[in-house]
C-alpha cells in the first residue's frame, strides 16, 4: 500500500468509498506520521486512542450504510486535526494558554460537532498562538510550532493557526480546522504551502469556540487543495441559533464549484495592496497570478480600496478591545488556573499574570486602554468608523468586479525568534488579510509558487459576502494554473 498520508482529503474519501482502505488504516497511517513529527510541535493534545475508536466506528457505519444503500457523512472516516480553540467534549481544550489549565469542556463546539456528525476522526488538538493572538505561533504556552518548510534554520508556520497549517503541510492529517480573526487561517496557509479559507462572517457558528475578537473571529479549514477546503467548509458551516451572528442561509455545494470555468469573471486588482519593502518576488507572483487568471478567461480590472492603509491600525484597536472584554472571564474563579493571593484583587492579578503570556497581556492592556473613558471616541469609535469605510470601499469595488486578487502576505515564512520581540513588525503580517475580517468577507489563500529560497508563497482571493462560490472558482483556477505540487522535504 502506498503512503496513505500523501492523499488529499478528497482522494482519501474516494479511496474509502471504493473500499481501497479503511478509515482505521488511514487513521493508523496518520497517527504514525503524527508520532514521527513531534519536532514540529503541531499538536497540543493527541487523541490517538480516541481517533482509532472513531475510525473503527466510522468503518462500521460505512459498512452498514453500504449494505442498506445509504450514503455516508461528508467527512466519513477522515482523520483530521482540530485547532485547540474549539471546545471538544471530554477532551482538554487549552486555547494555547496556561490559564485554562486542565479545562475539559462538557460540550462540543458547533463547528466540531458538525464535523463529528459528518463522520470525522479527530487525531488531536492543534497548537496555536495563545488565544489565537499571534502571526507566528510563537505565543503558544506549549512552545512554538515549527514549519515543515525549512531553510537552514527553523521557520515559523505563521499563526495563529500554525499547528493546523504545519500538520496539514507535513501530511499529519488530511485537513484541519482553523480560525481567522485577522489572517490566522490565510497567513499560515501561505507560509506552509497549504490552502486556507476564511468564509463570510457568520457562515460558521462561533458557539463553543474560545472567543478572541467576536466581531472578527471566523472558523474555516486549512487543507491540501482548494477542493478539500470546500469539502471541509461545507461540513463546518451552517446556521446555528445558539450564535446570534450566525447567518441563516443554506450551505451551497462548494466542492462542485471547484474547477468550474471563470470565463468572464471580473477580477479586481486593488492598487493599495503593496507595501514598502515587500519582496520583489511577491510583486512578481501577484503579476503571475493576474496572467494565470487572464489566461483562464477572467477579465482583469484595476480597483481602488482607498482606506486599506487604515485597516491594520483599526484592526489593532477593535480586536484588542473585544479581546480585553472576552478574556475577562478567565479569572481563576470557576475553571482553569487559579493562583491564590492575599485577597480577591491579588488573586485576580496573580492568576492572570501567571496564566496569560506577554502577547495576550499586551493586547488586553491595549484593549482596556482604547475602551477607557476619554479614549473611547479617539480609538474605538474611530476604528469602527474606519471599519465602515473599509466595507464601503469593498462595496464600491464590487460594482466593478466579482472578486479580488492580492498577495496573502508581505513576506515568506521567517525564522523562529526573528520577530517575536517586535510586535509592530509582527503585526504587519496581517496587512493584506485584516481587511476581509473587518468587512466580514470570504478570503482564501492558495499556494502559488516557491521563492528563491524554496519557500512557499500564497495568493489571496477575496469575494463578496456570501459568495464563497466565486472565491472557490477563482481559487481553483489559480490552483490549476499554478500547478503547485512542491512538498517540504521530510527532516523531522
Amino acid at each position: 500500500m502506498s503512503d496513505l498520508t500523501k492523499l488529499t482529503l478528497s482522494g482519501a474519501l474516494d479511496g474509502m468509498a471504493k473500499g481501497d482502505f479503511t478509515s482505521a488504516e488511514l487513521t493508523q497511517a496518520h497517527i504514525k506520521a503524527c508520532k514521527d513529527a513531534v519536532k514540529l510541535n503541531a499538536f497540543v493534545t493527541d487523541t490517538h486512542e480516541l481517533a482509532m475508536d472513531m475510525a473503527k466506528a466510522s468503518d462500521m457505519r460505512r459498512q452498514k450504510a453500504k449494505s442498506s444503500g445509504q450514503s455516508v457523512g461528508k467527512l466519513e472516516g477522515a482523520p483530521l486535526g482540530i485547532k485547540d480553540l474549539f471546545c471538544t467534549e471530554g477532551v482538554k481544550t487549552t486555547a494555547g494558554s496556561k490559564i485554562l489549565g486542565e479545562f475539559t469542556p462538557p460540550y462540543e463546539s458547533s463547528v466540531s460537532a458538525n464535523m463529528k456528525a459528518d463522520g470525522m476522526v479527530m487525531l488531536g488538538k492543534l497548537n496555536l498562538d495563545e488565544f489565537a493572538m499571534g502571526s507566528s505561533n510563537e505565543t503558544s504556552a506549549f512552545g512554538p510550532v515549527i514549519n515543515p518548510w525549512r531553510k537552514g534554520q527553523d521557520l515559523v508556520p505563521g499563526g495563529s493557526s500554525g499547528g493546523s497549517a504545519s500538520a496539514v503541510a507535513a501530511d499529519l492529517c488530511l485537513g484541519a480546522t482553523a480560525t481567522d480573526t485577522g489572517g490566522s487561517i490565510r497567513q499560515p496557509a501561505s507560509f506552509t504551502g497549504t490552502v486556507g479559507i476564511k468564509p463570510t462572517y457568520g457562515r460558521c457558528s462561533r458557539w463553543g469556540t474560545v472567543a478572541f475578537a467576536s466581531s472578527l473571529d471566523q472558523a474555516g479549514p486549512i487543507a491540501k487543495t482548494v477542493k478539500d477546503s470546500a469539502i471541509l467548509l461545507e461540513s463546518m458551516s451552517g446556521y446555528d441559533p445558539k450564535d446570534s451572528t450566525s447567518i441563516n442561509a443554506p450551505v451551497p455545494d462548494w466542492a462542485s464549484a471547484c474547477g468550474a470555468s471563470i470565463k468572464g469573471l471580473r477580477i479586481g486588482i486593488p492598487k493599495e495592496y503593496t507595501i514598502d519593502g515587500m519582496p520583489a518576488e511577491i510583486e512578481k507572483l501577484w503579476q503571475q497570478g493576474i496572467e494565470w487568471l487572464k489566461a483562464a478567461g477572467a477579465e482583469i480590472v484595476d480597483v481602488s480600496l482607498p482606506h486599506t492603509k487604515y485597516a491594520l491600525p483599526a484592526y489593532y484597536v477593535v480586536a484588542p478591545a473585544e479581546a480585553s472584554s472576552n478574556l475577562a472571564r478567565y479569572d481563576g474563579m470557576r475553571y482553569g488556573l487559579r493562583v491564590e493571593g492575599a485577597d480577591l484583587a491579588d488573586t485576580y492579578e496573580r492568576t492572570r499574570t501567571e496564566g496569560f503570556g506577554a502577547e495576550v497581556r499586551r493586547r488586553i492592556m491595549i484593549g482596556t486602554y482604547v475602551l477607557s473613558a476619554g479614549y473611547y471616541d479617539a480609538y474605538y469609535l474611530r476604528a469602527q468608523k474606519v471599519r465602515t469605510r473599509i466595507a464601503e470601499d469593498f462595496k464600491a469595488a464590487w460594482e466593478k468586479c466579482d472578486a479580488l486578487l492580492t498577495p496573502t502576505c508581505p513576506s515568506a515564512p521567517f525564522a523562529v525568534g526573528r520577530k517575536v520581540n517586535d510586535p509592530i513588525t509582527m503585526y504587519l503580517n496581517d496587512i493584506f488579510t485584516v481587511t476581509a475580517n473587518l468587512a466580514g468577507l470570504p478570503g482564501i489563500s492558495i499556494p502559488a509558487a516557491l521563492d528563491a529560497d524554496g519557500l512557499p508563497l500564497g495568493l489571496q482571493i477575496i469575494g463578496r459576502a456570501m459568495d464563497e462560490e466565486t472565491v472557490f472558482k477563482a481559487a481553483s483556477a489559480l490552483e490549476d494554473a499554478a500547478g503547485f505540487t512542491a512538498k517540504p522535504e521530510k527532516w523531522w
Binding site: 469542556p105 460540550y107 474560545v210 451572528t245 478574556l327 474563579m333 475602551l371 473613558a373
Partner: protein
Amino acid sequence: MFIAPRVADAKDWIKGETGDWEIILGLEVHAQVASKSKLFSGAATEYGAAPNTQVSLVDAGMPGMLPVVNEFCLEQAVKTGLGLNAQINLFSRFDRKNYFYVDLPQGYQISQFEFPIVGEGEIEITPIDANGKTGDPVIVGIERLHLEQDAGKSVHDLSPTETYVDLNRSGVCLMEIVSKPDMRSPDEASAYVERLRTIVRALGTCDGDMEKGNLRADVNVSVRRPGGELGTRCEIKNVNSMRFIRQAINYEARRQIDILEAGGEIDQETRLFDSDKGETRTMRSKEDAHDYRYFPDPDLLPIKLEQSFVDGIKANMPEMPGARKARFMAQYSLSEYDARLLSGDSETAAFYETLATGRDAKIAANWMLGDFFGALNKSEKDLSSSPVSADALGGLIDRISDDTISGKIAKDVFEKMFDGQGTADEIIDRDGLKQVTDMGAIEAMVDKVIVDNPDQAAKVKDNPKLIGFFVGQVMKASGGKANPGAVNQILRKKLE
C-alpha cells in the same frame, strides 16, 4: 444641565439651623422581568431554588459560550414602556459593562447603555403622608428603561474566610427604570415606587415582590435651598422596601444638610443603606468609581423592532391606571379623587367595577372607600384576603336601594358580614332588621311619640327643625327599622 423647576410644598421642606431645605430625588428601579428563562440563556429563573441549580453554560461564563436574546423579555420591556407612557425605541442595542467581580462570571454585564429600548415617558403619582393623608398628584418623568442581566449572589456569611457564589440569578433579566429628578419628598419617592409596582403588576411584566428583591431601588438624593441651585447628589444602592426608602432618604437628606450647614461639601459618592442601623454609609467615592468601558456587545446584533410588533403589544395592553381613572370619572361620574383611589390598581378597580355594575355607582364608591376599606385597614387585610366579596357587598347595597334596610342599619349588617356571619340577606332575616314600611304601624308609632311629647309637638309649627327630634324618637321606638322617609312624611302631615 437639567433643570428641576418644581419646588416642593413648604410642608415637605426640612428645617435646618440656617433655614429650610428641599430634597431632590431621582430613582433607579430594578424590576425583574417575570420570564421563565433568563435574558440570554434558557436557564430557569424560579425563586428559591438550591444554589447553582439554575445555571447554564452561558450564565457561568464558560469559554466559547454566546448569549441569545430572549424575545419574551424584549416584549415585556416594550409593554412596560407603553405602561409608562414612554417612547419605544425601535432601534436599541446591548452593550457590555466591564468590571471584575466573583459573582459576574463573564467579567462584564450585558446592559443597554447608549441605546435603551425605552426612552422618555411620565407617570402620575399620588403621595400619601405618614398620617395617611393624600396629597396632590405629581407628574414624574421617566428618563429611560433598559434591559440588563442580573449578577450572581455572593454569600459572605457561610464561612469566615471564603465567599460562596450562587449563580442562579446570574443572567436573570432586569428592567432598569430611571426616573428624572422629579421627586421632592420621601412620600413622593415611596408613591413613585408604589405606582411603578402597580403598573408592572397590572401588566404582568414583573411580580413587584420587593421581599424577594424582584423590585429594588437605588435612590439619588441631593438637597438644595427651596427653588435654589441643585446640590451634589449621592446614590444609595439597593433599598429594598418602602419603609427603607423613606428611612434612607430621611437619613441621607439630614446627613447632607448637616454637612452643608457646617460649611462642608457633599462628595458625590455611592452609599449603602444599612437597614439595621437605619443609616447610609460610603460604599465607594467618585474617585473609586469604575471605568466600565462600555462598548457594543459584538456577540449580539442590534435590536430592530418593527412598529407592527409594538402596535401588537399596544393593542393587547391591559388598561393603565391613568386611563382607567379618566374612564371611571366619565363612566361612573366619580370625582377625580374617588376615581383615582378606585382605579389605582387593577384589583381595586375590578372590585369596584363588579360592585358598581347595575348599582348606583356613587353609593358603591362611598361604601367601598368608606366602611369597606375602613374595615380592611382596621383588620389589616387587603382585597385578596377580604372576608366580604364584591358580590356580597353589592348584595348589601341592593338592600339599601330597595329600602329593605336603611343606610344606618346597613352599617351594622356590614360589620356582621365582615365578621363572617353571613350574607346581607341572611343577617337581615336572622336579626329581623327589615325596614318597617307598613304605614299603619308607623303611624301608630308616630301617634304615640306625639302623645308622649305634647310640649315639643306644640312648638313644631314655629320651629320646623324640631321635626328631627320626632324622627329620632320614632326611629328609636322602631329599633331603627322604620323607613325614615315614611316616618318623615307622616310626621309632617300630623304636625305641620
